[in-house]
Symmetry: C2
Amino acid sequence: MGEMTANTRPQRRTRRMPTADELRIWREYIETAELVRAHVAASLQRESDLSTGDYVILLALSEADGHRMRSSELAAHIGWDRSRLSHHVGRMERRDLIRREECATDSRGAEIVLTGTGAEAFHRSTAPHLREIRTVFVDALTAEQLAAAGDVARALRAHLASEPRAAIAARR
Amino acid sequence: MGEMTANTRPQRRTRRMPTADELRIWREYIETAELVRAHVAASLQRESDLSTGDYVILLALSEADGHRMRSSELAAHIGWDRSRLSHHVGRMERRDLIRREECATDSRGAEIVLTGTGAEAFHRSTAPHLREIRTVFVDALTAEQLAAAGDVARALRAHLASEPRAAIAARR
DNA sequence: CAAAAGCGATTGACACGTCTACTATTCGAA
DNA sequence: TTCGAATAGTAGACGTGTCAATCGCTTTTG
């Protein structure tokens, strides 16, 4: 299912368009990843009433000293920008999953603190969430396919990092 | 609830948790796909001021008879639900990329019609968009990796389709 | 020390998606 | 034929993300 016809045409790389096959694989790649991501997210939501964002934040706080973290630390840790974190944390605070406290050492700062509710929700969610990932992703693939998925991801990232525009976009 | 205690028999497949390596690949898989998707979307936005959703709709209308389609047909064609399409089309109408007309044969219905502006925007966007996909995705991978990416996607979809819950979730 | 520059975090505006509810119309069966 | 169910589309509420602006506090520096 993957025979590519030999390409002997000496067009410049950046001018060439993808073939129909390449485009199909592109779409399958993006759409499948999104489908699987959505599936796992839906499971997490169903089982534990948590979004993936909630989970990421609760995980970070669970592992943090005193179950608390400075807002920007947390943002850096999970790779979000401060605005996104602030919005999300606002919503989580309304649901009593975390709370905000002012920072003793820097009055500009805020600390995000895990609440009991939040800790409990996180702990209830972990095992089913990980099992779902195993069920939907790991168990769907052979060992070779799993390794190949990792290789592909690594290659894409490496290529993106070497692209000038990619670097600019990623830096924001 | 309490059946997780020490067990004397081999664990069932669905009970096992992913290993650290498996989890790392899971994260790389999901995050990389998202990164690459976002990169291509940003390029499309930069070059043509179109979102991926805009592009999908404009593509469908470009190929449609008379550059127009019934709303639900369009939705089915691109795999969106009617509400999502209606919201998106509302935003696109404000930007004069499409317009809505009432349907002659069914007064409940609406037709989405490509405007000149929309057609022009789409045609300007196509080649750069496809080239970007080639640059960021196809050129990043060897032929084997590309084929493997397709295989992985196929395996994941097949597995999802065979999961009872997946089928339910996907059907909505 | 005071003004300027920098930093931490929040906010508002908007795009996008999902879910549910609602309106209007068409269709199907009693 | 009429009335209830199904269908087409829209609309509102809300979660989520990004971007730019803002606000208060800290640090730097003239």
